[in-house]
Symmetry: C2
């Protein structure tokens, strides 16, 4: 049972935060009003108003003890699909923001860094990619970036949540424009099923643009899934997977690298870049190639700059060949923890 | 006049936040209790409890509309010097934290990135640095890093605030250990005065480890100060200056680059790295050299790795030669905004 003060505070918490927090002491006290002013990935406000028995209760398991807050100018959309809670708001300094289950997925200001890097790190590392698969990525940003590559003939995308696609179509036209490329074939469904049915040796590149590996995306960082990915790639084909923060999730990165070194017989690398609105301000990428023509991720053979702007007439905002090479330079602490002499050099 | 609710909220705001916020409606309502639970660089809590007439009132002018919060385990020190408010606390995930005027200066977890980069970017770019000057840097971290360089004979440091030195000596022994190097000569005083009296052609390298250019550090990013710095450097000597966030402060970076291109006749470059607890998760560095033997910042001639661990037996945690080179790779948006073809290539 909660007292009146606790009840009042619970009612003031945005539901998108509640979901990220874990179990709620009283489901009935959840309330749909998003508190005016600030959006935060961790509902720190509780600590300011009430003392609760177990503070760890409110930690996001992916980044305990810290929170990044954005000032909310206006809530634009708020709804729940079969898979997750979807929130779109206009922020003070980062443009429109998409949050899923209370976690920032993208902001208009810094999405360029993530979308361009996760796409061009793999696609610029192989000559003339033709068949590309995107897993997740329902916002369309990765599709928009793939569309710059003139050699590409087919862009399959497997996204589980139609509502994410629809909401992004309404609020993020600069990302969802990616779906307008006639080479795109949309498959709405579960990626694990999709990969199981995928023909072997089919793709030149697979990009996994998933949410964090807690909840529905958990299977996407496990060995059986990576095995289906490796099978679906042609010899010398490449995978690029979102790989969390080098400052916060070293063990997770270590696990992913270990798993992938067993499965991918070509090369396996970790790269990183700056995305201010992701935890710790960085995001990592796992880059793997299958056995076959060797792939040197560290030196792009297929520079995108020479292909000019894409059909959507948007210039590259973040990626270039120097940033590509620089992304593989790892801090000494990470090299040591990952023993990356065998990975990145 | 404030109502009772507003008054209650004001009383709950840590004074370190109040200072960063700007004018206070009622000086008398300030209260010394640091709110238990979370430290934040922007006092977002106000938005959750009361509506105020002018929300912009609460913005930190350096990064409006966002806040990074760290869970406070224990307040270790809280005091005010003649220059600033000093707060030390144990955080949940980042070790001990030093905040000046409510702004995080360093955390034990990520200080390695800032201290190592601001020191070794300049010192590894010139052969055998002998005389080095640090401006600011009272925590001792930059001194600790300089001490790795065996060629160095004199390390002058000009820090305005003795209390910062003393507090760091008590709470951050892994940084203040830098003061124990016998080559260090401490000058407590104003850097503008110190530079005015400094003999010409004296230093191989000057490192400006200042707080943000609002308040006491403002003069340190202005032309007259840079002119005294350039004069104090030998021909082909180098400056490294903290240069804010490429995501948030492009105009400030542009101004600094323009000013320095006029004053430093050698080369002028911008570099950046990842520091999770700084706004946007990145920090920039301005690297300049005076006319004389040419300096190629992009390719370190004086690698520190070969000099082994320093006398304090602490391994490099972040810096290495690849990270050095990578730091000069700029995102396309920044290249465009800075028109850096003339700076970084």
């Amino acid at each position: 049972m909660m007292n009146a003060d606790e009840d009042r505070v619970w009612k003031a918490i945005p539901p998108c935060c509640l979901k990220a927090m874990g179990p709620c002491p009283d489901e009935a006290t959840r309330h749909d009003t998003v508190v005016s002013g600030w959006f935060s990935e961790v509902p720190f406000i509780l600590f300011l108003c009430i003392t609760v028995a177990d503070k760890s209760f409110y930690h996001n398991p992916m980044w305990p003890g810290e929170a990044h807050s954005l000032k909310v100018e206006k809530i634009l959309y708020h709804g729940r699909s079969d898979y997750q809670e979807i929130l779109v708001f206009e922020s003070y300094g980062y443009g429109k923001v998409l949050a899923l289950d209370g976690i920032v997925q993208l902001t208009e200001k810094d999405e360029c860094a993530y979308q361009e890097m996760i796409t061009h790190l793999p696609l610029c590392s192989i000559p003339s990619p033709k068949n590309v698969l995107v897993i997740g990525g329902g916002d369309g940003g990765v599709l928009r970036e793939i569309s710059r590559h003139l050699s590409v003939e087919v862009i399959d995308i497997c996204e589980i949540d139609q509502l994410v696609i629809d909401v992004c179509n309404d609020f993020f036209p600069n990302l969802s424009v990616g779906f307008k490329d006639p080479r795109v074939r949309l498959h709405v469904g579960d990626a694990v099923d999709f990969m199981r049915k995928s023909p072997p040796n089919n793709y030149d590149a697979i990009i996994i643009d998933s949410s964090d590996p807690i909840g529905p995306a958990q299977e996407l960082v496990e060995k059986p899934f990576f095995e289906t990915v490796a099978k679906a790639l042609r010899p010398g084909g490449v995978l690029c997977n979102q790989a969390e923060s080098m400052w916060l999730h070293t063990h997770l990165i270590q696990d992913m690298l270990s798993t992938c070194r067993v499965i991918f017989k070509g090369s396996v690398h970790f790269a990183w870049t700056s995305v201010p609105t992701y935890p710790s301000g960085t995001i990592g990428f796992l880059l793997c190639s299958t056995e076959g023509p060797p792939v040197n991720f560290l030196d792009p053979v297929n520079p995108i700059e020479t292909q000019g702007v894409n059909k959507f007439r948007r210039e590259l905002r973040f990626y270039n060949s120097e940033i590509h090479r620089a992304a593989f330079a790892l801090p000494s602490f990470l090299k040591k923890e990952l023993r990356t002499t065998s990975y990145n050099s």
